[in-house]
Symmetry: C2
Amino acid sequence: MRPAENRHAPLAVYALLGLWMAIGSLARPVAQQPAPPAPVLRGFSASRAAAQSALEQRLQRLPDPARIERHLQALTAVPHMAGTPASRRVAEYIHDALRSYGWQAELVGYRAWLPQPIEVHLELVAPRSVLLARPEDPIEEEAASYAADVVAGFNAYSPSAEVEAEVVYVNYGLPDDYARLCQLGVAVEGRVVLARYGHSFRGVKVRLAEENGAAGLILYSDPADDGYVAGDVYPRGPYRPNSGIQRGSILYIFRYPGDPLTPGIPATEQAPRLAPAAAASLPRVPTLPVAARDAADILAHLGGPRVPREWQGGLPLTYHLGPGPATVRMRLRMDEQQRDVWNVVARLPGERDDEWVLAGNHHDAWAFGAVDPSSGTAVLLELARVLGQLAREGWQPRRTLLFGFWDAEEYGLIGSVEWVEQHRAELAQKAVAYVNLDSAVSGTRFGAGGTPSLRALLREATDAVTDPRTGRSLHEVWQQQSSREPVSAGADANLPVGLLGSGSDYTPFVHHAGVAALDLGFSGEYGVYHSRYDNFQWMRRYGDPEFAYHAALVRLAGVVLLRLSQADLLPFDFLTYAAEVQKAVGALQALVRQRHAPLDLAPVASAAAGFADAAARAEQVLRAAAADAGRSAAINRRLRSIEQALLHPEGLTGRPWYRHTVFAPGTDTGYAAVLLPGVREAIERHDWATARREAAALAAALERAAARLEEVARLAAPEPPAAPVPVGAGAARR
Amino acid sequence: MRPAENRHAPLAVYALLGLWMAIGSLARPVAQQPAPPAPVLRGFSASRAAAQSALEQRLQRLPDPARIERHLQALTAVPHMAGTPASRRVAEYIHDALRSYGWQAELVGYRAWLPQPIEVHLELVAPRSVLLARPEDPIEEEAASYAADVVAGFNAYSPSAEVEAEVVYVNYGLPDDYARLCQLGVAVEGRVVLARYGHSFRGVKVRLAEENGAAGLILYSDPADDGYVAGDVYPRGPYRPNSGIQRGSILYIFRYPGDPLTPGIPATEQAPRLAPAAAASLPRVPTLPVAARDAADILAHLGGPRVPREWQGGLPLTYHLGPGPATVRMRLRMDEQQRDVWNVVARLPGERDDEWVLAGNHHDAWAFGAVDPSSGTAVLLELARVLGQLAREGWQPRRTLLFGFWDAEEYGLIGSVEWVEQHRAELAQKAVAYVNLDSAVSGTRFGAGGTPSLRALLREATDAVTDPRTGRSLHEVWQQQSSREPVSAGADANLPVGLLGSGSDYTPFVHHAGVAALDLGFSGEYGVYHSRYDNFQWMRRYGDPEFAYHAALVRLAGVVLLRLSQADLLPFDFLTYAAEVQKAVGALQALVRQRHAPLDLAPVASAAAGFADAAARAEQVLRAAAADAGRSAAINRRLRSIEQALLHPEGLTGRPWYRHTVFAPGTDTGYAAVLLPGVREAIERHDWATARREAAALAAALERAAARLEEVARLAAPEPPAAPVPVGAGAARR
């Protein structure tokens, strides 16, 4: 489901550059005494660091590209959409593999609202008749593409409907696009709007079409965005052919993801269910995705004004707005059924089973799903094998490792959401962090998103892993790719780790359960997202022909998980978190001034400052804390509760499933995150009462987090004179 | 021949904005006494200004759009390429019309090298066979487009040749494009290069292909430049259809224009002639223009690296550089003949026949030629009728009016160049100014270029003429179109009048004969340049459906010509000229510093300052000069000699046909002008000896011009106390 555009919103990235700069200065006022020597590994005592390094080195020797390739080939042999027997077979394949690696694995089923298309009909009826919604062309030299059972192009959760109306072209279908159409005097009400994919989650496009009174929505892939203008198309190159269709869900996941009929509770067989008509996450506008060539037939028959210059796409014609004369008839029939979905959940039990280190990916795909999602699945399976091998060699994880392979992510994060809803209380107690690996490899460029507390850990882990192409550390290559500046010492500020919005299975962990998360992968030129061309041959030709980047990701995820699992003190970094929050509060204050909002953010700013002070104090004492096991457990319990502390007890106004006070996926973006969402979105709606309530909740959350950090600082403070063994949970920077 | 892109180079335009600002301050130091009241009309004594205004008002009432439309229809009835019987018939039509309007008209013939194509063959031979060089599609609803005798797409003066080679795509074929290809390791030597039209004169593209060792050149019209990306294509809109071909000459007019076999002398029957192999203006690389759809078939079969991002055009494919596998066979056979060309030259004799006010346009066209050139021809014919009508009513021009209708401009300004070469001595004595009206109307946006001395006159004339669409003065509309700033008093600085480079018939007047010139027109969305679609129906649909802008141009050109013809003192403005020169000298000094050139420009700067001082002194006394006829004649003789004074006695090094020291068409642009070309281009070649020689010639030219201005100042100075009647050749600005 992950958007094909950028792994993480570039704006967020640039905001971070400034943030990282600020961190040193934040820490300084507190750090009066000379800093202790830099710890070898964040969270490890010196005495345990050597063993950890040896363990990591052993792990890094084990990944085998040939095994990953075999997994990918097996996982992508047939289309395996959620709710189909093929998807169940993929779950069984995963389950069996995990068992063979020595993991405790089980299939975990839910029953979700999962309609499939019965009829997808689109026809240009005026000014001439053309049958559209044509299927994707098979590629002659690829047996895989001949498979007859690739589902038609459809958008999951579109209502069934029959519509006939004139067409209006709405560019990307963003709020600004509708505003522009209004200025230009082109009404969309009662019309079928034609929008190109990109710049927002497709479900947001549907909601905006709905808000603007459209009778239907046709989504298409413009060659300017992921087709021949971007680069050569498959099979000559990695971009989308003119016949390629981007399938995808239009569920209103920005309200709540998961089974639309069971918001907030697990979709077990017996769960009470909403009627579909009452489900707030189900869209109401009939929506259909088509290929560039279908869109060309419609656009060629639009009259009305020429489009604004930047609305012109890459099709070989002059784009017009309409309305009409192009008139389409769209007939969509969905089977409106519930279906079983099958997660695979596996564990490698730790010395202590009350702390869980999680990783996961989905396993369902719209078609063959090589990049999305199976690249990540193959990586996780190989990592499970490698960890199983370490276990066979006598190692036991300190904390339990738990891998989730989620079903029906493509429909709307169904499998992961239902599981998290079922285990929310346990996760609140036990979860340390969740590492997500969706669409994990489509090229060689490393990218990551994560909750701020895990960014330092990630950056340090990239130091331990080698980039296959260059032979240099991944850290160094990432640094160079992320910046046009020459690499210099201490240039970690250039390493962009995005915010986590939505679009993959970290969503329920971060936004609903308050679990710190990372999202990792290598990306490249990938234009075949959600089409039949995202297949094994594509990966062999373009994505990762040697499976070297898959193997590198096994190593990186392995090192991250081993550090989370083995550390004496959990390797979180709350200085970064506090700096991010303070910067976001500053931006919010600017927005308040700009909008002349009757809103006093001083309590929020004060709470954020308190959070930052507490983080600095905690960081300072953690650096020097003793590694006694009893105290560590108490400290760690508090450390992993801090993300929880930032949750809104009642959830965000209007979408209570989202509970994080610091981040949420944007209501108008769908994928990209917004910061301090409760307050910000209320201000944007001019809803001052809500803004004040959300501000109070935010301040309270920050105060709770600060209090936990104060407890950490108190617990970690040297009782007698300073302990002799420095323990590294510090904010060391090279 | 005029380029379809911009009438005048935007850079020149912006340079001017600054210039105009400077003018006021330049004038101030000299103007110690309080300024006399603003003159009514530049160059007219108050006593004659009223009569002039009445005359202009009478003139403005006479133009008749219906007559202009009938002329355009007649002129564009059939294709009339130079050297064909149809072109001769057009000349006779013009001649007969002028006679009927009471003008003295004659056909003036020359014999020029004017090959026509016998065979134009282009074929993709690998990796598959496609016959290219397909003719333009006729438009069903247009009888005109059915005419069978539109010449094939060809580039005039391409050598005959047969070439078979792999293709390399070279973007626009500019110097930077070849440099980029070199960096990318793609060799063009021995290959056929495929270049899109735009950003330079096509002859310059051929010269660069030649310098880079190409075996052949295919020019094409990319939809991103004048096709469907720019706007709807004909007949739905005014842009170029995919089958549209831009014909055009590739003569090296930046060396010398006109008949290639008789440089510098008139191509009379008996003139001595070069062998074609010895003619420096004849290109050596076989060159052929094709339509977008032909280029698409070649580009679709190019391998090699992807093009740099900004080289991707608007065709529906991913552009690659090659070389090959696309391989073309090109076979061009030209008939290598001389042909007769027929100018029409007409006069309306003035009270004094030793001063000529000229106007002109070409009459030959590549096909039907509605915009290019017949819109200007129709305007000039209607202006001739109107002036003839005034004459019938008893008026006689003070100075002789001379209209030239030039043949074979499309081949390389042949008719005008040969005529100017024949009459150079007489022009040097008599010519006041030349007003050019090529491709005069393709829309509603006014644009102009001109020698600096005429810009103030032009700006003032636009005050007297009404813009048809808005009913406001053309001056005001021009001002608003040229600037996003609100109109304010004294905002003339925003009125861009470009420099004159080349591409139309002002070239021999300005650059060879030293005659001040203007070039006027209304432009719009015009994508059908040099194709069969530039026809009468196009004009009726898009260019000027009511022929109102044609009529407005009759009025504007009429007012300009009447002022040039009737003024007591010639309405030149040398303050503007001097400011332009001083700014150009400043830019040249910056270039010298940047290149560390061993070149002392102090004498040039000093001469430019002297020119400016003399201009300021002349301006000051001219404002207050008495209007006695004897003195006026002496002053005017000197005033019109100043442009002559700026000519280089030996011509520019390497291209002596170009004699102006201040402007020339750029060697690497072809159309756009460069300032102080002798020195500048020598510096760019690192040829310091030439640069020094050219600098000396430039300084000498500026000194000659200053001396003439000093004479003007002396002649115009009040002998007794100041004359009572203020005479307006002043630099009044509203």
